[in-house]
């Protein structure tokens, strides 16, 4: 039996290649994700172990606020320089170096552009000399406060060499100019450690610029004396310094840093796997269809096997064995392709992140296991139904030409209606917020069941819709024949179209949601924000671009400017909860600009040690006017503030508002936004150039009018949409393979008909047109279903988010039209090979074809 199975497998190579390709692509995504994250993870591991190689024990002050890698930037806490002496006094310490190291030193390149980073920090630090890791390439370390030494990555990116003047932006000082006196690299001839940009100042400049305090360090690196175990030394140093310090061995520090990245990479991995899941789900349709067709075509052969004594289970086994073989081969190929893709993406990531040195590409066990498990599972599950159908073929079918009558669609339609209803119910439950912690899974389950339900309903829907759609092409005889062919096997047409539906529905749904969100936010902002001009910057890394506080005062003096409300932002620990807080120089102006209304107390003034909070947050923290609450900011000690006003929560403005005095303890004591209200009679065109001039020394921000600002703020929706569309494209590619597959099989099945049509005078071009119409009808049908289902899903989500402020339902008509148009193109493309094949058939052989 096995031999028979394998022989029949080989006889149908093309079909198997096509259906196998769907599994290959899906598995490729899975293994690619694992290889990528594994490679990056090991690269970061080795990066951090290098970075901490010269540190036996590291000392830092306990952070004021605990921040995980995914939640923002950890802010180093400065501690008195005298601590260094206490560390040096600990027995077993051979050497200890105090350093001031913080993120946020941005070099302005020789072209005037600020160097940006998409992830790796831009570190400003004090020069502590060369060691095993840090090696000068040219020049020397800075000795005067007007000198800096930069790493090769900065020098290359900013096109700087020794002797050049360079401007540097730092968190605690306005733009400063320095002379480059040296350029350094790292052991192993590296220009940078993982793309990190480093600017080394003298100790005093580093202290003033990076932490805003002199006489402090942010970390101490300890070298143990010979024969002293780092762990032992760590315990001694920790005992000497007390509870305010965090003391760890170099190994621990490296592991901690890497663990933070692993968490982020795991998150990234899950997103990729989610998209792989969509692709594989679509692949199931394709494989199911292929096996159904194969079983239908092999009816005689299978009946013969039954007639000569094969049992039902042997027939089922034969079909499933085929599935296992295909699954194994496709998983293997997918794994291999995924390794390639993962390596390529890791390389691209490394380049993008500024030259992360990749650890060798490895194939983690998880990639191998998941590839084969997923690939086999998907293939075998998709083959189960066709296998059961094969087992029902009666032996007598071998003797007679059984016309396989169209089985009634009642059962499948009933099942579809039930599943779709169940899916709808789950969605309703999830979206109404009644599913508690299981909301995400309830919604996902609902979407999945809805897809399966609609797919089951599709054969029923396909009859009228396909016939209607086909009429668009029925102006010629080939068009009419193509239309009739596409309606010929409702199940096959339906599954092929349903595969396309899934991808299109997801894209449409996401587009509906994001467009609605964007439109709602835009409308709200347009309605709310009362400022004519806004200063802000586009955030590319973890830090929000900021500008000098003095700009606020100078802007207020510009003729035509009525009020200027600057906004500062930081993380804080309030009542045991970590939260974002804002501070402003002019609370009355800010209140007016955001149309904030008071619900208790006063919100027009804000003295030192006073704060405002919105009603929701107040309720959450159990605060009312007059209450006092301790606030711990990124730096400094906790201070107690008094709640003097509570304002009505709005969708654009909320949270704690602190007085400007509090910003001294902010990680970044500079405003990140400013809202300018113009005096009556003043125009934007008059004022804007003058504000632009004020920002000359703050090149990371710019001034925009209200419409531009709103557009900037909402452009992230478009970026997100584009990324999701790119990732979902794979599911659509697989669906296209499905159409090619179905058509190729149809051409094969209808060889004799094609021969007849050619014999009675159908031209080659007409034959191709006939096949193309069939393909276009199927794909447009799938896209139409997808657009409808997607719109429904999107609208349901938008409806559920009404409470969150998404009040507009925007239907992306243009996008929908594009999807339908694209589907038509897809149909034409998918038809190319089958159509050529059909047109090339030898008429005589075709007619004689059994």
């Amino acid at each position: 039996m096995l031999r028979t199975t394998l022989k029949s497998l080989l006889a149908r190579k093309l079909r198997l290649v096509l259906s196998g390709l769907a599994v290959v692509l899906g598995v490729m995504f899975v293994s690619g994700a694992f290889v990528l994250t594994d490679t990056l993870s090991r690269s970061f591991d080795s990066l951090f172990s290098d970075a901490y190689a010269t540190t036996d024990v590291g000392v830092s002050a306990k952070p004021k606020i605990d921040v995980a890698e995914l939640e923002g930037e950890a802010v180093p806490t400065p501690f008195p320089a005298a601590t260094l002496d206490r560390v040096r006094a600990v027995p077993g310490v051979a050497a200890a170096t105090g350093s001031v190291t913080a993120d946020g030193a941005q070099v302005i390149g020789s072209n005037g552009k600020v160097l940006t980073s998409f992830g790796p920090p831009q570190i400003g630090l004090n020069w502590t000399g060369e060691n095993e890791l840090v090696q000068l390439r040219t020049g020397r370390g800075p000795t005067a406060d007007t000198e800096v030494t930069i790493n090769q990555a900065v020098a290359t990116a900013a096109k700087l060499s020794v002797g050049d003047r360079v401007a540097v932006l730092t968190p605690h000082r306005p733009k400063q100019e320095f002379t480059v006196v040296g350029i350094f690299g790292y052991s192993g001839n590296r220009d940078s450690l993982g793309g990190v940009q480093e600017v080394a100042f003298t100790e005093r400049v580093a202290q003033e610029s990076m932490v805003g305090q002199t006489g402090v360090y942010t970390q101490i690196s300890v070298k143990a004396a010979d024969g002293v175990d780092p762990a032992v030394l760590r315990d001694r140093v920790a005992a000497a310094l007390g509870d305010d310090y965090v003391v760890k061995t170099g190994e621990q520090l490296s592991a901690d840093a890497a663990a933070g990245f692993d968490e982020a990479l795991g998150f990234f991995n899950n997103i990729l796997l989610g998209f792989a899941g969509v692709a594989l789900f679509v692949g199931v349709f394709l494989i199911l269809n292929t096996f159904s067709i194969i079983v239908a075509q092999r009816t005689r052969e299978l009946a013969l096997l039954r007639a000569i004594g094969a049992g039902r289970s042997q027939v089922i086994g034969s079909v499933l064995t085929e599935a296992v073989v295909i699954g194994l081969i496709a998983s293997g190929l997918g794994l291999a392709a995924g390794i390639g893709v993962g390596a390529l993406l890791a390389y691209a990531f490394g380049q993008f992140a500024g030259g992360l040195q990749l650890a060798g590409i490895g194939v983690p066990v998880s990639a191998v296991v998941s590839s084969f498990v997923v690939g086999l599972f998907v293939t075998v599950v998709a083959a189960v139904l066709p296998a059961l159908r094969a087992a029902r073929i009666p032996p007598v079918a071998a003797m007679q030409d059984v016309a396989t009558p169209d089985r009634p669609l009642t059962r499948i339609t009933t099942a579809g209606a039930l599943v779709a209803a169940l899916g709808g119910a789950l969605l309703a439950l999830g979206l109404s917020g009644n599913a508690g912690d299981n909301t995400l899974w309830t919604v996902l389950g609902g979407v999945l069941l809805t897809f399966i339900g609609v797919a089951l309903l599709t054969p029923m829907i396909s009859r009228p819709v396909v016939s209607l759609l086909g009429r668009l092409f029925a102006w010629s005889v080939p068009g009419k024949l193509g239309r009739l062919n596409s309606g010929r096997n409702p199940r096959r047409t339906a599954i092929t179209a349903a595969a396309l539906m899934v991808g299109i529905a997801l894209v449409t749904g996401v587009t509906v949601i994001l467009d609605s969100a964007k439109s709602s936010v835009t409308a709200l902002a347009d309605d709310t924000i009362q400022a004519e001009l806004v200063i802000s910057g586009a955030q590319t890394g973890p830090r929000i671009p900021s500008f000098e506080p003095s700009v606020l005062e100078r802007a207020a003096e510009v003729p035509g400017v009525a009020t200027v409300a600057g906004v500062y932002a930081d993380q804080a620990q309030i009542g045991g909860k970590r939260t974002w807080v804002q501070a402003t120089n002019d609370v009355a102006a800010l209140r007016e600009i955001f149309k904030v209304t008071p619900s208790a107390g006063t919100i027009d003034t804000l003295g030192p040690q006073q704060l405002l909070v919105d009603s929701d947050t107040a309720a959450e923290h159990g605060l009312s006017v007059g209450d006092t609450v301790p606030v711990q900011l990124s730096r400094g000690d906790a201070r107690t503030y008094t709640v003097t006003g509570i304002y009505a929560e709005s969708d654009l403005f909320g949270g704690f508002v602190l007085p400007v005095a509090a910003t001294a303890d902010f990680a970044q004591p500079k405003p990140v936004q400013a809202y300018l209200k113009l005096a009556p009679g003043a125009t934007v065109d008059q004022v804007m150039p003058q504000i632009e001039a004020l920002l000359a020394d703050s090149p990371t921000v710019s001034v925009a009018n209200r419409a531009e600002f709103i557009e900037q703020q909402t452009s992230q929706f478009d970026q997100l949409l584009m990324m999701i569309q790119i990732l979902l494209a794979l599911a659509i590619v697989i669906a296209v393979l499905g159409i090619v597959n179905t058509l190729a099989l149809s051409v094969l099945e209808r060889t004799r008909e094609l021969g007849l049509l050619r014999a009675i005078g159908l031209r080659r071009a007409q034959t191709m047109r006939m096949i193309t119409v069939e393909a276009v009808v199927i794909s447009v049908f799938g896209a139409l279903l997808g657009v409808l289902v997607g719109t429904g899903l999107g609208a349901a989500v938008v409806r559920a988010l009404r409470e969150e402020g998404i009040t507009d339902l925007v239907l992306p008509w243009t996008d929908m039209a594009v999807f339908l148009g694209l589907a038509a193109v897809v149909g034409v493309v998918a038809a190319v090979l089958p159509a050529i094949r059909a047109a090339r058939l030898n008429v005589l052989n075709a007619i004689a074809h059994e």
């Binding site: 005889v477 024949l481 009739l484 309606g487 050619r758 014999a759 009675i760 005078g761 008429v843």
Partner: protein, 256 residues
């Protein structure tokens, strides 16, 4: 020998010294060896011969479905030999009708649509009077909206006949049209073919190995080993059978 026709009659199809060779070298098979034959207009000609005699090949070559190795084929005043795919397609569409053993109807189309298909493909309007005549002759008026699956074998073959006749082609080629039918349904189809020759002056060339079917023709041409070996005019089943037997002995002698 060469089969010729009575002088003065118009020729609907002609093969002149036609050779057909398949394969090359050791595997070479000669299917037709210099066949020359003419088919008169408004006559019903049967081509007979044992299996492998080349009768189907001859028909395929005549109909423009297969190319010849040497020699020429004419349909009416068109030279078939040397036509490209487009020319052959046009020839088949405008000048030739087909009836196959397997009926070969399109399952998606009704009987009427199947009958009109060649005309639709060509973009020609059917002549309603002629169409009515054809449909009445084949006796399908009450079955026009049925699909092939709802028709019996005999009815399907009559639809196929009507399809071939609908465009009034120069010549209809019928390849074992009764091969898949029982004798009663077969007789209906053959009677219908004969009527279309007698009453509507249609030209029909039919390949068959059934002496009874051949006896419906006006003339029978016998092929053996790729050559025309005999012919009968006004055949009866008995004369056809006799000729076949003679041929068998001839070929077996020749084989020794």
């Amino acid at each position: 020998m060469t089969a010729t026709v009575t002088h003065g009659a118009a020729i609907a199809a002609r093969a002149s010294d036609v050779w057909k060779v398949y394969g090359s070298g050791e595997a070479q098979v000669v299917a037709l060896r210099g066949v020359s034959v003419e088919f008169e207009r408004a006559r019903f000609t049967a081509i007979m011969g044992p299996s492998g005699s080349g009768k189907s090949t001859l028909m395929h070559c005549l109909a423009g479905l297969d190319s010849v190795t040497r020699g020429t084929i004419h349909i009416g005043d068109t030279t078939v030999t040397g036509l490209g795919d487009a020319g052959l397609t046009k020839l088949r569409r405008d000048k030739v009708g087909f009836i196959f053993q397997q009926f070969n109807l399109l399952p998606t189309l009704t009987a009427q649509e199947n009958i009109l298909l060649p005309l639709s493909i060509a973009g020609r309007k059917p002549d309603p009077e002629w169409l009515a005549t054809v449909i009445d002759t084949v006796g399908l008026r009450d079955r026009l909206n049925h699909r092939p699956a709802q028709l019996s074998g005999g009815q399907q073959q009559r639809v196929a006949c009507a399809r071939a006749l609908a465009s009034r082609p120069e010549v209809i080629f019928a390849d074992e049209p009764t091969g898949n039918l029982d004798s009663r349904a077969g007789a209906e189809v053959l009677n219908f073919l004969r009527r279309s020759v007698a009453e509507y002056r249609q030209t029909i060339v039919m390949v068959t190995h059934d002496p009874v079917a051949a006896s419906y023709a006006d003339r029978v041409v016998f092929l053996a080993d790729g050559q025309i070996v005999s012919e009968l005019v006004e055949p009866t089943p008995d004369t056809v059978l006799d000729t076949m037997k003679k041929l068998d002995s001839l070929t077996s002698e020749a084989g020794q």
